[in-house]
Amino acid sequence: MNLQDFSIMRHELLLTAAAIIVLTAEIFWNPAKKRSITLFAIVIFALITAAGFIPASNGNLFGGMFISTPIRVMMKNILNLGVLIIMIQSVTWLNKEENFDKISEYFILIISTLAGMSFMISAGHFLMFYIGLELATIPVAALAAFERYKNKSAEAGIKLILISALSSGILLYGLSMIYGTTGSLYINEVSRYFSGYNLQILAFIFFFTGMAFKISIVPFHLWTADVYEGAPVNITSFLSVISKGAAIFILIILLFSVFPVIIETWQKTILVTSILTMTIGNLFAIRQQNLKRFLAFSSISQAGYIMLGIIGGSQLGMATVVYYILVYIFSNLGAFGVVAAISNATGKENIDDYNGLYRTNPNLSLIMTLALFSLAGIPPVAGFFGKFFLFAAAAKEGFYFLVVIAVFNTIISLYYYLLVVKAIFINKSEAPVEKFKSDFPTKFALLLCVAGIFITGFASFIFEVIRNYSFGV
């Protein structure tokens, strides 16, 4: 393997290397100073993230098994960036007594699942795609059960692994039909022989269902709230942002590269599921008290909005989806960062507990408000731009009906985001969350999120870069 090949799959190789380095480093690490391995792992990962942004050549490897294009590299970079923030957010939690002996496991698991996602995004062959998918899924289940002494966490892990197995089974069934009807698993060959007769449409339905489980699209979302609630907050944020983002990335890549022939079929599918996902996610979010469940349903509805970018099947839609995921990463991680900070400091996770939060913790309150406004799509934060472009992408292809439903859904979502804002600013409380000082990593991660929430919106070059890369999957 020469240098050029290395640069083509640098994300995957570096991530694998990082997982191994952290694993071996733990053996030689002084057990008394074990906490410093966090810093070591984060620095390594930050270097990898930075390396991903260095422009390098693209191309195919292993006879077309592995494809690297600018937009795919961009997707991987976005995921890396998100994971970097999550790692920094997790430091406080990892430093807790009960997690002391599992610090390096956390990093190994999270890096290997990210490696799986990178393989999946670059897959030029369905086998590669499937291996990446599994590598991305299984460590997440272990992470969800990270606090295994807590029943809810263990339950979340089991639920996640069972649902993943089920959805993988459905997906594989679809893939087997694709293989049966086209005689190949290479994506470019499949797309050449894909003509869209009934068995192939059935194959598509199975494939889509499998992916729908991963993205938690209604009606395949039922696992989401339980798993999100049970898993530790920092893992929940990973699930809601990175796992979902990666699954959406691969869905859009495959829809555009394998299934363009049956675009009318999948537009109908997405139209229906998108409406269901937005509406049901929003309506269920209204009644939630636990903030993790609340954000779970909000993230379900966000997936519904993202479908608006996919449905047109246009390059503009592709760009807006990638851009929106970037915005969504910053916004959602901002919200989860605040929830995690408060949960780590006081153990409180309910909306009622946030009553009067502004009086005691004004900075956290402001960040939470900004993040929620960004999720709701209120200017001047980035969510506004993201939503506007998503809706524009759908409107451009004439899906005005869907856009109308989506904009009214944003009003419903605004209602429940405002409920949290109301709790923070308006409601009074006998026993508000007491004043506490966050440690440096928490502050730094939140600062990154806030900067991201503002910069990704106003700095148009970010969108333009993504837009320029979006030509050609």
Partner: protein, 502 residues
């Protein structure tokens, strides 16, 4: 930096200044200084604008600044003003300036209050200077969202309910608007060269296909109409206004509701004149309902703020009514009415706030004979009332007269009947204004607690005199203002009249 961008930059700098200080007094001074500067700048803008026009610059928009923002979507940060926007900017800076002084005594979370208030003002200023629909929409939403916190935290009465109702209804309107704007954008290039644009001036050079206009005109018009209290979407207004703190009521009724009228005129009618002509009758009926219903609603209310809120529904309905008449006189009147109502209703709400601060009630039957006790505030209230019922010499007369004369110029029966119905609101207005003045100010002082109320303090006087002065100035010398508006109305009228000669 160009002069128009300064209108957004100064509030942002003011907010930054407020964030940096902690002392309440300094917060007030910085807010007042910032908004005073803004008022000064508005004066400079009016002067520059008039001298440009005098020098013979007959461009549709002046002081244009166009910066490419999102290149691939052809979204620009584009600003520019014509006489109408200059007038609206002047109105806004007056009301905001008066609003800062009217809320001088806010003592609960003062810093946050002024930040939210000025953020709201930023959105309004940005809206009036934008000539790009995207920037316009952005500023519109920016103006709406601080309302939630302003009413929810500093309001009175059922404030949480009112805040949520107002925010959701206005954001619902902006949702419709978003779809409408996207519809305009994707139809802004009939040759299908894929050069879509959000720029109002460029879109006004072409005609959007009539089929698209029929779909998107109602969306845009209702989207803006909700903000202008179009019946039956006016219900947020009484609740919102009565729960809001003084300065917010002033700004909201005085300025934010004008966003509706201005947007309906600048976007809905200007860009989609054919559909406007076809569908105007529906909205003319709705707006005349607003006008009459709002006035009747005001008669039966007991709470001063509710009376004024319903009266705003009536007056703002008149703005939309006049815009839909689509001839020169009526549309001039619409803009005059926006400015006149903005000043006078701000004055009203400021005075109500000051009265409430003294009597701790807003129910008219609990008050009486205040004229003897607090003559300054009472006389101001009478002036506001007379302006509202259209007494000659004050701004209300000029505006309403122009509107009704313009509206009656339509030769057909429908328009004339509707005008007659709308005119009847003048009488009803007189009823509720005079009733309030009689009960509230005249007669013996009924409540012994009210006998030693202090009259206006210095900051209250600044607030009141600024507004009364402007009301009287427009009433006594309306010509320079209506010339400024009238000149800018021509491009719009040309576009309408070439299509639909009456």
């Amino acid at each position: 930096m160009d002069i128009l961008t300064m209108f957004v930059v100064i509030p942002v700098l003011t907010i930054t200044g407020i964030v940096l200080v902690n002392d309440i007094r300094k917060v007030r001074i910085i807010s007042a200084a910032g908004m005073g500067l803004q008022l000064l700048l508005a004066g400079v803008l009016v002067f520059l604008y008039l001298s440009e026009r005098k020098a013979g610059n007959m461009d549709e928009m002046l002081f244009i600044r166009d910066i490419v923002w999102f290149k691939s979507l052809n979204i620009h940060y584009a600003v520019g003003v014509d006489g109408i926007s200059v007038a609206m900017i002047g109105l806004t800076s007056l009301v905001v300036f008066a609003g800062i002084f009217a809320s001088w005594e806010v003592d609960f979370l003062t810093k946050e209050f002024f930040i939210s208030l000025i953020l709201l003002a930023t959105g309004v200023f940005g809206f009036f200077i934008s000539i790009d629909l995207f920037t316009m929409f952005l500023f519109y939403e920016l103006a709406v969202i601080p309302m939630y916190l302003l009413i929810g935290i500093w309001g009175s009465g059922p404030k949480e309910y009112s805040a949520m109702k107002l925010t959701l209804m206005l954001m619902g309107a902006s949702a419709l608007l978003l779809v409408g704007l996207l519809g305009i954008y994707f139809n802004s290039d009939p040759e299908m060269g894929r050069n879509f644009t959000f720029n109002i001036l460029e879109i006004s050079k072409i005609y959007i296909p009539i089929e698209a206009q029929r779909i998107f005109f109602p969306m845009v018009f209702i989207g803006f109409g909700v903000l202008g209290a179009l019946f039956p979407f006016h219900t947020w207004s009484p609740d919102g206004h009565s729960s809001a703190p003084t300065a917010v009521s002033m700004l909201h009724a005085g300025v934010l509701m004008k966003l509706g009228g201005y947007g309906a005129f600048r976007v809905a009618i200007f860009l989609m004149p054919q559909a406007a002509h076809e569908l105007a009758w529906i909205f003319i009926i709705l707006t005349s309902v607003s006008v009459v219903y709002g006035a009747f609603g005001a008669i039966v209310q007991k709470d001063l703020k509710y009376i004024n809120a319903y009266s705003s529904v009536s007056h703002c309905g008149l703005v939309l009514f006049a815009i839909l008449m689509m001839n020169e006189t009526a549309m001039n009147g619409a803009v005059l009415q926006m400015i006149s109502h903005g000043l006078m209703t701000a004055l009203f709400f400021a005075l109500i706030g000051m009265l409430y601060g003294r009597t701790h009630t807003r129910l008219i039957n609990e008050m009486g004979g205040l004229m003897k006790v607090i003559p300054f505030l009472s006389v101001s209230y009478v002036i506001a009332g007379l302006a509202s019922l259209g007494l000659p010499g004050l701004s209300g007369f000029v505006a309403e007269m122009t509107i009704f004369v313009g509206a009656f110029q339509h030769p057909d029966l429908f328009h004339r009947i509707m005008t007659i119905i709308a005119v009847s609101s003048i009488v009803i207005t007189a009823v509720y204004i005079l009733r309030v003045i009689a009960i509230l100010l005249l007669g013996p002082t009924t409540n012994s607690h009210f006998e030693h109320l202090p009259d206006a303090k210095w900051f209250e006087k600044i607030s009141t005199i600024t507004l009364i002065g402007s009301v009287a100035a427009i009433g006594l010398a309306p010509l320079w203002l209506s010339t400024m508006i009238g000149n800018s109305m021509h491009p719009v009228l040309q576009r309408i009249l070439t299509l639909n000669p009456f």
